[in-house]
């Protein structure tokens, strides 16, 4: 049986389109057909744009026919997390407060996708305003994990990860504030890449936590993620936190890694991460991770133990900084300029309308974080909580700077546990927050980190995380691609049976 279009990787599809073996319209239609086939069960997409995607695909086909030289992923369709602002295409952030918002502009990364000729299939589900670790906090219903539809697909980018895992898109966009690309990647058997903070523009990304939010790729393998990241990366003068440096050569890193040679690479295992039992990591996850470490050693890597003494403070530091920034960012939803308005019946003042609107528009996790952030920033507590968290962030950053003087990259499990059943952690927010235990540190120090599938536990995917020094993203891609060479077939090439 010939290989289905939807089973090809993004790089393979791009080659086929460039070589004239497939048209972009054929490829885009194949993924739209797959969405029609399985998304009623998975629920990865909030909004589809079949017409826009097919129009963009036809334009690529015309340009290629005219001999134009296009981007390395021209014609390959993509799913976009519904946190990215898309002109003329509904953008909700999975919140009732933005339920019917049609943006009047494209964000920088979306503009770059359009310029590079990637048809946008639609917008994917997420935890409301990217606050969550399971996509259960979407105002429009949860996305299901294609590997087991009784389980969560991770969060906040569960929609993008599930779309790639279920073959509804070859690649997708995500954002990572505390692990929201890597954690869903790990639990759905996909590759997730968080670039160096500031290397990908946040202009036109609905803000959650401005010093942590990082857009990045979701894909089947490291090379596809690298190709996408090179398209969307680069300095943006409209984002004051954008780093004015060249795009990192991550595709070259992935291709180097694909040779399976890690001679001369030194990897650090974080001593405090490895003490998984103390952090509630499941035995099956640790076994799959350890098997991955042994494979990396066989490829020539040297592994040594590294101490990051302030690791245990990363979670509380994050959960003070992120909600503080969120409470400030979400003040813009004030019922005046866009989005929902409630209580405007002539009986309530503007202030009352604002409060009624925010009550009606925000879900429980968003309210919880707004309250937490308001508390941490309020007079009398700001030094004790927010100020102290910022100082501890300095110490965590110093720990990682010191670690990267000894090793090329650090490795860990991506998550402490495999995808859990729906509803099993919603009653206890702190238990939910533990999902991002291993991913949060790289957001705090700002460096790149990727999650690559490394095995199964209880029949569910497990991810191995590679963390690198700031602006050395290519190192992570090299190691991830090398680990992929030890899998035959690639774990991400397994198409999960989707049960209704």
């Amino acid at each position: 049986m010939s290989e289905r279009i939807i089973d090809k990787t993004a790089a393979e599809l791009a080659d086929d389109i460039r070589d004239g073996k497939l048209t972009s319209v054929e490829v885009t239609q194949a993924f739209l057909d797959r969405i029609a086939e399985v998304d009623d069960t998975v629920g990865a997409f909030l909004t589809l744009d079949a017409e826009g995607a097919l129009k963009a695909a036809a334009e690529v086909d015309t340009a290629l026919g005219a001999g134009e030289r296009l981007s390395p992923l021209a014609g390959v369709p993509i799913a976009v997390k519904d946190l990215f602002v898309t002109k003329g295409l509904r953008t909700t952030a999975s919140s009732k407060i933005l339920e019917d918002w049609i943006p009047p502009y494209d964000g920088t990364i979306v503009s770059r996708l359009r310029q590079a000729g990637l048809p946008i299939l639609g917008k994917t589900n997420l935890d409301e305003f990217a606050m969550g670790s399971s996509t259960e906090y979407s105002a429009f219903g949860a996305t299901k994990n294609p590997w087991d539809t009784d389980r969560i697909p991770g969060g906040s980018g569960g929609g993008s990860a599930a779309a790639v895992s279920a073959r509804m898109a070859p690649i997708a966009l995500g954002t990572d504030t505390g692990g929201s690309i890597r954690q869903p990647g790990a639990v759905t058997g996909t590759f997730g890449g968080k670039p160096t903070y500031g290397s990908n523009s946040r202009y036109g990304v609905v803000a959650f936590s401005s010093s942590l939010d990082t857009p990045g790729p979701v894909s089947r393998n490291a090379l596809d993620g690298a190709l996408l990241n090179e398209i969307i990366s680069g300095h943006d003068e409209r984002d004051s936190t954008s780093i004015p440096q060249d795009v990192r050569p991550v595709a070259e890193g992935a291709r180097t890694g694909a040779t399976g040679d890690l001679d001369g690479v030194t990897l650090g295992v974080v001593k405090e991460f490895a003490d998984g039992s103390a952090q509630g990591a499941e035995a099956g996850v640790l076994e799959a991770y350890q098997a991955g470490v042994e494979q990396l050693i066989k490829l020539g890597a040297t592994v040594k133990e590294i101490s990051v003494p302030h690791f245990r403070y990363a979670l509380p530091t994050y959960y003070l900084i992120a909600p503080s920034e969120a409470s400030s960012n979400l003040a813009r939803y004030d019922s005046v300029r866009y989005g929902l308005r409630a209580g405007d019946d002539g009986k309530h003042s503007l202030e009352q309308v604002m409060s009624l609107t925010r009550e009606a528009g925000f879900g429980p996790e968003v309210k919880r974080r707004i309250m937490l952030g308001t508390y941490a920033l309020s007079a009398g507590y700001i030094d004790q909580f927010y100020g102290q968290a910022q100082k501890v962030r300095t110490l965590i950053k110093r720990d990682f700077d010191a670690a990267f003087e000894q090793v090329d990259a650090l490795i860990s499990p991506t998550t402490p546990f495999v995808a859990f059943p729906f509803g099993s952690r919603t009653a206890d927010p702190y238990q939910m927050y533990l999902s991002d235990l291993y991913t949060i540190p790289s957001n705090l120090y700002g460096g790149p980190a990727v999650s690559v599938p490394t095995g199964l536990s209880e029949g569910m995917p497990v991810g191995l995380q590679v963390m690198g020094p700031v602006m050395r993203d290519e190192v992570c891609y090299r190691i991830a691609a090398a680990l992929e060479t030890t899998q035959s077939p690639l774990l991400a090439d397994t198409v999960p049976e989707i049960e209704e």
Binding site: W101, I102, P103, P104, Y105, T196, Y197, G198, S211, E237, S240, T241, H310, R312, Y313, P316, T317, Y319, L320, S327, D334, S335, V336, R337, Y338, G339, L340, D344, H348, S349, L350, E351, V353, M354, L356, R358, E359, F362, K367, R368, I370, M371, T374, Y375, S378, Q384, F385, G387, Q388, Q390, K391, V392, R393, T394, L395, K397, D428, Y430, G446, V470
Partner: protein, 99 residues
Amino acid sequence: MSTISRDEVAHLARLARLEVTESELDSFADQLDVILDSMKSLSEVDTDGVEPTSQSVPLINVFREDQPHTSLERDDVLAGAPDTAEDRFRVPQILSEEE
């Protein structure tokens, strides 16, 4: 002893412009208490002389050429508003009857 009281949660809700029901006050007080309790460990870290990190990358002020350029069309911007009047955002009254 609780880190945060029910009254403090009600005060926070007012500050954050959130109407909160009585049952939400109870659940938020319980949940915030657990979360804040877990954060107490930060107070044990010696941070004397440590500078705070607000951004992981150094920020520099960014200037552009002082040249006019196009912005969003007014009609496009107003199209997303919940209510408009005479090419402006329309809001409910600001002052109450007593004021």
